[in-house]
Amino acid sequence: MTVLSDLAENGRGQLEKWGRFTLFVGRLFAVSPRALARPRLIVEQVHNSGALSLVIIMLSGLFVGMVLGLQGYDLLRRFGSTESLGTAAALGLLRELGPVITALLFAGRAGTALTSEIGLMSATDQLSAMEMMAVDPIRRVCAPRFLGGVIAMPLLAAIFSMIGIFGAQLVGVTMMGVDSGQFWSQMRSAVELRDIVEGVVKSIAFGFACSAIAVYEGYHALPTAEGVGRATTRTVVTSSVAVLAIDYMLTAVLL
């Protein structure tokens, strides 16, 4: 009986959490048009979430592309089709690795920064002060950060894929001796618009999920050092699981 009641209690708690998150996202959407009327605030956040994440995204993209070049070359060599390396690398990066790894890195770099920033604003009464100045903190603080993340994420994913393809070319063509013409021409003929669209759709969806989770956790963090720390951890864990789950669902739909 205790186990059952514990399970029921836990289920109710999870439902409540989902309800709160849904309401919060609803409010974010409701205030977003007014937040869009002040583009300067959003541009600032695109800079904070996007431009400041560029180094980690570009470095990771380069190494992932290089690994893809090595592994892809080894695999394709067994089938005698190393000239398809460009296609394999491009499809892997554009459709899957680019959006997913960028989103995971985004959750770790920009998501945690958003959560801790908003959480600390709450802990130091800055959000309450805004409420008292008749300024809605969700409109003034959360919505610009959410929208900034949504805009930054597809741009970062595109840069990741681009650098990744360059990394694969660096290993495949420069180091392993794959023919440069074949590498690029096969890629150009095999990669279709829908492959790129799949990656863009995924990265936008991940941007929505990661940014919404980050601002939600920050806004609802307990106003203590421990509370903000826990909220930051939850941002990374929840965002990562959400990205992988959404990736599976979108892949199933878009294939």
């Binding site: 130091t124 009464d125 800055q126 309450s128 002060a129 008292m132 100045m133 008749a134 300024v135 809605d136």
Partner: protein
């Protein structure tokens, strides 16, 4: 100093905020039960009481950040329980609040902090905003600190900037949460003078939550003493000082033990030390 200085436009004796039979319960614990408080227009009213009696909770009730479980809270003619979010925001434009730590926005400098409410609520040209902000900073003596960041300010300066920000939209009611906590005597004197002068010069109503008996005695026109979720005494600071009720005497005299016990409720000391009362 203690005389009422209600300005023109304020009707002396009229309540600008009134809490009637207010109860507030959180997590099954009763914070207030049957609280009656009336804040007179144009005066500096102090809310005092031992730590943990819910003074800050009372401010949150008056500002509509939380709602009473029972009773009514009426501020400037508005029943807070009937206001929606927009209505609450309209009311808050007529209020200013000074948080204990200043609560300045850390990503903005002093000037932008003071300009923040003006930018959010009006479309005034930059030139006019600049004049308003400089005038408010001048009134708290910090015009020269306009471009400092909040991290570069002392506690007293941060509170003065927060005061400038709180008055920048010309509110009717100004609320101070522990304005003297952690200040050195000079900064305390400055903040005290500013509260009095701001109240009288701008014709405001001020509510000051504090447990600094001495400062409140010099500053307030009227004071409420809270304990156990109720008002246990009220009157002018002089009347409270003359009150002979044991709990009032303990608070006003700063005695460590009395009706408010020194020890938090605990099992019998000897039993616990000898190991039969269980670990804490």
């Amino acid at each position: 100093m203690n005389a009422s200085n209600a300005m023109a436009g304020a009707t002396p004796g009229e309540a600008i905020a009134r809490l009637t039979d207010v109860a507030y319960t959180v997590g099954g614990r009763s914070i207030f039960d049957g609280l009656d408080i009336s804040i007179e227009r144009g005066k500096v009213t102090a809310i005092m009481g031992p730590s943990g009696t819910g003074k800050t909770t009372l401010l949150r009730l008056i500002t509509g950040q939380i709602h009473a479980s029972r009773g009514s809270v009426i501020v400037d003619g508005e029943d807070l329980s009937r206001l929606d979010r927009e209505g609450m925001y309209r009311l808050r434009r007529r209020m200013g609040m000074l948080f204990q730590n200043g609560a300045l926005l850390t990503d903005l400098d002093v000037y932008e902090n003071v300009a923040f409410p003006v930018r959010e609520h009006t479309d005034l040209p930059e030139e006019l905003i600049s004049r308003i902000v400089l005038m408010k900073l001048q009134s708290v003596g910090l015009r020269g600190a306009a471009r400092l960041r909040p991290s570069e300010l002392s506690g007293g300066m941060a509170r003065r900037v927060a005061l400038a920000r709180a008055i920048v939209m010309d509110p009717k009611i100004l609320i101070y949460d522990e304005p003297f906590a952690g200040l050195d005597p000079i900064a305390m004197g400055v903040v005290m003078r500013l509260i009095r002068e701001t109240n009288d010069a701008l014709g405001l109503t001020s509510i000051v939550v504090s447990h600094d008996v001495h400062e409140i005695g010099r500053l307030a026109d009227f004071a409420y003493l809270l304990s156990g979720g109720k008002v246990i005494a009220s009157g002018t600071p002089a009347e409270l000082a003359a009150n002979q009720a044991p709990v009032v005497r303990q608070f006003m005299g700063g005695e460590a033990d009395g009706p408010v016990p020194f020890h938090y409720p605990a099992p019998d000391y000897a039993t616990q030390l000898l190991g039969t009362g269980g670990n804490p």
